[in-house]
Structures are given as C-alpha cells and as structure tokens.
C-alpha cells in the first residue's frame, strides 16, 4: 500500500490526535490529498507524500514549517506530520480549504466579474499574506493559479501547497510555474527566493486586475506561426520572451509588445488610475531586468497602492464602477465615455479620497501611521434620500463638523452624517469634504 485508504486513521505526530480519512480529493505530482475529520468533527486536509528520493528532505521541510507559527491566516499552513499505523512514509495535515475558494482562472473566465472592492480586497489579502511570509525571511517559491485560491464574493484568499516554503538557504527542487517565474529563474541564473516571489506576486496581481499576462503582447504572439518548419519550439520561445528579452506590454519606452487588439488587458488597463499603473510599470521594467529587493516592487509599495486604489473608486452615473484619477481630472468613464459628474472628495492627510458607498476611513487616512485595519468611518447610501450618501462614525471619538453655511455640529460615535461640503475635525486632524 502506498497511500492510506478511506476509513483509515492517521495520527498526528506531536499531539497523537487521530484523523479519520473521509475521502480522496486530489492527486498531484508529489502525492495525494485527502479530506479527514478529527475526533471533534473538524474537517482537515491530509496530504500523503508519494515515495520518492527526496522524502527525507520533504519530511524535514514540513517538520520545520510546523515549528513556525502561521505567518498569516490566509496560509493553509502545515499543522503536523501524520503517520499511518502500517503504511511507510508520511503525510501532513493542514486546515481544510473550503469550497468557496477557487482558482483565479475560474474567476477570470466568468462573465460577471467580482466588483472592484472585492478585487482590491483580494489583492490586499494576498499582499498581506506574502508580506508576512517575506518579513520572516521565508519564500513561497511557487506562486501560481493553482496555489493562490480566492473567494470571489468575500474577497478572502487561501494559499495552499505550503510545502515548498522555506528560507532561501534551504534547498528545494522546485523552480516554479512557468508563467509566474522571474526571468532570472527561467534563464537558470538563480534559484527561487523572496526576490523571485516578488516578481511572481506582481504577475499574479497583473492577472487579477488586468486579466492577462504582463509580457504576452504582439511581439510574443507574432512569434507564433502557422508555417510549419518556421515554428520555434515552446522552450526556445519561453526562454526568449520570458527570460532573455522579456518586454512589458506597457513598457513606456518600447511599444512593440502592446497587448493584441482582442486582449482583455487593453480594456482593463485603461480603467485604472495612472498612479496604480505606474506600480506595474515599475514591477515590469526595472523590476523585470534588475532582480533585487530594491528594484522589484515590495509588499510595502503594493499595500499603499492597493489602499489608495480603494480610496478612488466610485460609480459613474451610468452605473459603471470607475476610478477617480487625480492625474487626469476629466477622465472619461470606460463604459459610457462621458466624464462622470463630480463626486464628494475627502481631503485626508494621506491623500484625497472619493466618498462613495463602501469607502472605509482608517487611521492611516488621518495619521499616516500605516494602520489600515480598523475602520473608523464608513460611507453608505442615504437610507431615505436616493443619490445622497451618509458617513457613519464607527470610531470611539466624536467628529466635529462645520458644514458650509451651517453651524458647528457633533457626530457622536455610532451616529451618521449626510455627506456635504464641510470642514471635519477628527481629534487634532482637520480635513474637508468638497464637491467640486
């Protein structure tokens, strides 16, 4: 017997907890994944390794990971090694990933896309997860569609297949998944690291927001030919376009690899504000050719950009979700081609924010302290007046407001105020709402 069977019991090494194997759910290159249940009735995933010559290394790797605390809740982190009473070899158990998590490919294929707030939430969660991992000096090594699962409704993320995680110095056979591999990995000049993870993360985020690959444009497509004999081998092409001479589809100084006319990237790229596209430009120009922590986009930069993007989202009169672009004041709506009518702007110390339903005010907006977690205010549609907005005070202090043409008023914790031009005071911080 190579693998446990349904109905077998495996035992966790450290705690002796018994897990009953319930069903076989997947089989991959390294082994088989089962669903198991512990004595408390909780679902757990059990991955059992296929016999191979690296088994000992894999064992040490997993054991090492079980010694770390989980860097971020999004990781389906190895909990413990499991053994079977009769079968040689080993497996490990991890949190059961619920069915609501699917591959991003599934999501991108759908006709109705998640709304932008959800997309941004997915981006933020992924970024936080990798930030936590990299901060600990660990790298993931194999970012791809199969390993980073998303909940397209809630914006949650689940990162599976954590067995390749380790410090850069720990030896690993894995090199990554082709489309996500950094050029230096494709060329064999380096092994997977935090630096190569940062590249893969940028590719994943590009897919998430732009619906395509950042290097697949006209130039790459032109290399495909129907002409037999002229055809280059896939390996040669990949090495060339993803490794030796990679070129970003929106490289500002070389337009020869722009997206094909029918590429969804063409349409999506235009939707986003310039500052956000600028982060991708950095990731796939200097970040493409100079593999270093300083030249690639780190999670710190993505964090700022993703939160800022969230602050600029609103709805055009036609109903389409659009982003305010402070660099292009009269930018037209991607859907109706009209310039959207003016929206209320909160001039927060961290930068201007569009007040629209779903906007959350955080400490960072006021104090620039990088605390994005707590919502201290939120914007919702007005319950009684269509088209108007209310701003709910979800903080522990009163807001002092001076609406234009009215006296000074107080918005107590829990109260709401109608959004209109005014001066606002949060403790010592003064801001304004304008509606130009």
């Amino acid at each position: 017997m190579l693998y446990p069977s349904v109905g077998d019991e495996v035992k966790m090494k450290r705690t002796n907890t018994v897990i009953k194997i319930e069903s076989r759910v997947a089989e991959g290159g390294q082994g088989v994944v089962f669903r198991g249940v512990d004595s408390g009735g909780h679902d757990l995933a059990v991955k059992w390794y296929r016999k191979n010559k690296y088994l000992e290394r894999q064992y040490n790797q997993i054991e090492n990971l079980t010694n770390y605390s989980r860097p971020h809740p999004s990781f389906a982190w190895p909990i413990d090694i499991v053994n079977h009473p009769t079968i040689v070899g080993f497996g490990y158990t991890m949190e059961w990933v619920e069915a609501r998590f699917v591959s991003l490919v599934e999501v991108l294929k759908k006709k109705v896309q998640p709304n932008f707030r959800t997309l941004i939430t997915i981006g933020i969660e992924l970024n936080e997860a990798f930030s936590a991992l990299h901060s600990r000096g660990l790298c993931y090594r194999d970012i791809n569609f199969g390993n980073l699962l998303v909940d397209p409704y809630r914006g949650d993320v689940s990162i599976v297949d954590n067995d390749n995680i380790g410090s850069e110095s720990s030896r690993q056979g894995i090199k990554g998944t082709l489309r996500f591999m950094a050029p230096e990995l494709i060329l064999g000049n380096s092994s997977p690291s935090i630096v190569t993870d940062l590249y893969s993360l940028a590719v994943f985020l590009f897919y998430l927001f732009m619906h395509g690959h950042p290097l697949e444009g006209q130039k790459v497509n032109a290399s495909y030919t129907w002409d037999k004999g002229q055809e280059q081998s896939e390996t040669v092409k990949v090495t060339h376009f993803f490794g030796r001479e990679p070129l970003f589809v929106y490289d500002p100084s070389d337009a020869s690899n722009r997206p094909e006319y029918d590429s969804p990237v063409l349409r999506w790229w235009d939707i986003y504000p310039e500052f956000f596209k600028g982060v991708f430009v950095k990731a796939f120009t200097t970040g493409l050719k100079e593999p270093s922590l300083m030249k690639r986009v780190t999670e710190t930069q993505w964090r700022g950009a993703l939160h800022q993007l969230n602050d600029q989202l609103f709805s055009c009169g036609c109903g389409a979700a659009v982003f305010k672009d402070f660099d292009i004041p009269d930018k037209r709506c991607w859907n109706c081609s009209m310039t959207p009518s003016s929206v209320p702007i909160l001039e927060a110390p961290s930068g201007a924010c569009v007040l629209s339903p779903g906007f959350k005010l955080t400490r960072h907006h006021l104090f620039k302290d990088f605390d994005y977690k707590d919502s201290i205010g939120s914007v919702e549609p007005h319950p009684n007046i269509p088209g108007e907005l209310i701003f709910r005070n979800t903080s522990n202090i009163s807001w002092i407001i001076e609406p234009v043409g009215e006296g000074v008023k107080e918005v107590k914790p829990g109260q709401r105020m109608q959004v209109r031009p005014m001066k606002m005071h949060f403790d010592k911080i003064g801001t304004t709402i304008s509606n130009p």
Partner: protein, 237 residues
C-alpha cells in the same frame, strides 16, 4: 534657483539632512530560519516608505549609512547615500560569526561625534536590526554610554527591529531607552516612517528643560482613535 543662489552670499543653501544609520546583525545565528533574508527584506521595505516620506514632508533629505556586525563591526555603506539612490547590496551572515553589537554602536557613536557629524543635520535616526543579544556585552555597555554622552546620540531617534521568533528584546529596549517606543518586527517596518516625524521636529526646538526622551515619544505617539462597535444611532447629522 541658480540665479537667486548666485545673488546670495555664501556657498548656496539646501535642505537639512537626516542621517539614517542602519546597524545590521550578520552573526552566525542570522543564518537560520531565513533571518538574514528577513533583515534584507525589512530594509528593502523601509526604503520606499522613506522615499515617500522625504517627498511629502519637503523638509529634509535622507542619507543612509549602514554598519554590519558579526565578529567585528564594519561599514556596509560608509559614505551617506541619498535614500532615493540607495542601492542595498543584500547582507549575508558570517559563518559562526559573533554578535559584536557593542562595536557597531561604538562605530555609530563615533560617526555622530561632534567632530564628524554635520552640525546642521536633523536628529539622526539609528535603526538596529538583530536577532539576539550582543556577545560583546562590555563593548555594548561602553557603546551605550558613549552614545548617550553625545548630544546627537542622546537626541537620536533610536529604533530597533527584532528578527526571528523569540528574539531577546531586553538589549534592544536598552538601546531604544524609551518605554514608549516599542521594538518593531520586520512585518511592521513601514511604521518607521511614522517615527521619523519626530526627527524633523528639530525645527520645533526645545529648551533643555523637561525630560529628554519623554517629549520625543510624546511627539510620535498619535491619538488613540480606534474602531468602536456601538449600537446604531438613528440620528443623521
């Protein structure tokens, strides 16, 4: 600006400098659990926030220097590099290397001594990144004494990042010497930019009255405005 400057007496003006010193642990123990990678990653994460900060506050130019330490301390970046041009060559651990943190502190103390330190610069920032405790404890004590005896050392914003789980923070706290400034972990290094605000308060001059560090931390402690779950209120103001 050139025209005006040429009509101005003297050798020209510029913004004041903020000298940012990184003291980076390269001891043998930094090899395990990706600690040295964590250190390099932390520095790469700090850089963009510092660049942003420099751009926004429009007051100071940040210059970075770095001292690495293991069996001894050495300059990793000796001549001050403008933050936006910082080219961080990743550090590697020294096999079986000791933790000469004291030597590193003495080295930075020397660099900010009145003879060497640019007098018009803002209060310096010294960031210590380490996974442990000094092996040169005596030097550590001497280093702290030297540092705190210097005007710029006393005034310095001293910050520390603990690398790895269960790092010994007692030495780091002694280096920070301010109970209100917590030891950071690599994950929240972007908060370093927040602490820098205090460094620019050189313009907000103080008399020698008042306790030394307390007022510094007061300046960098932000109001406690937090999320608060409460019963909904029907009022719409």
């Amino acid at each position: 600006m050139n025209d005006l400057n040429s009509l101005m007496p003297g050798g020209g003006i510029s913004r004041r400098s903020l000298h940012f010193f990184i003291l980076a642990d390269c001891s043998g123990s930094m090899k395990v659990d990706g600690r040295i990678q964590s250190l390099n990653y932390a520095i790469a994460s700090i850089a963009p926030t510092l660049i942003n900060w420099e751009r926004e506050q429009e007051q100071a130019q940040i210059f970075v220097r770095a001292i690495a330490f293991a069996d001894q301390a050495w300059w990793h970046i000796e001549s001050p590099q403008p933050i936006d041009l910082l080219n961080w060559v990743p550090l590697t651990h020294v096999e079986k290397g000791l933790t000469s943190m004291g030597a590193a502190i003495r080295m930075v103390a020397d660099a900010i001594s009145p003879e060497k330190f640019e007098p018009r610069s803002l209060r310096p920032v010294i960031l210590l990144i380490t996974d442990g405790k000094p092996t040169d404890v005596e030097e550590f004590e001497i280093g702290l004494r030297e540092l705190f005896s210097l005007p710029a050392g006393k005034a310095a914003i001293r910050l520390a990042v603990a690398i790895g789980q269960g790092a010994n923070v007692s030495y780091l706290s002694r280096f920070i010497n301010d109970p209100d400034i917590p030891v950071l972990v690599a994950e929240n290094v972007d908060q370093i930019a927040v602490k820098l605000t205090a460094a620019t308060l050189a313009i907000s001059k103080m008399s020698s009255i008042g306790s030394d560090r307390k007022q510094v931390s007061e300046q960098i402690i932000l109001p406690a405005v937090n999320s608060f779950i409460q019963a909904d209120d029907d009022t719409i103001v």
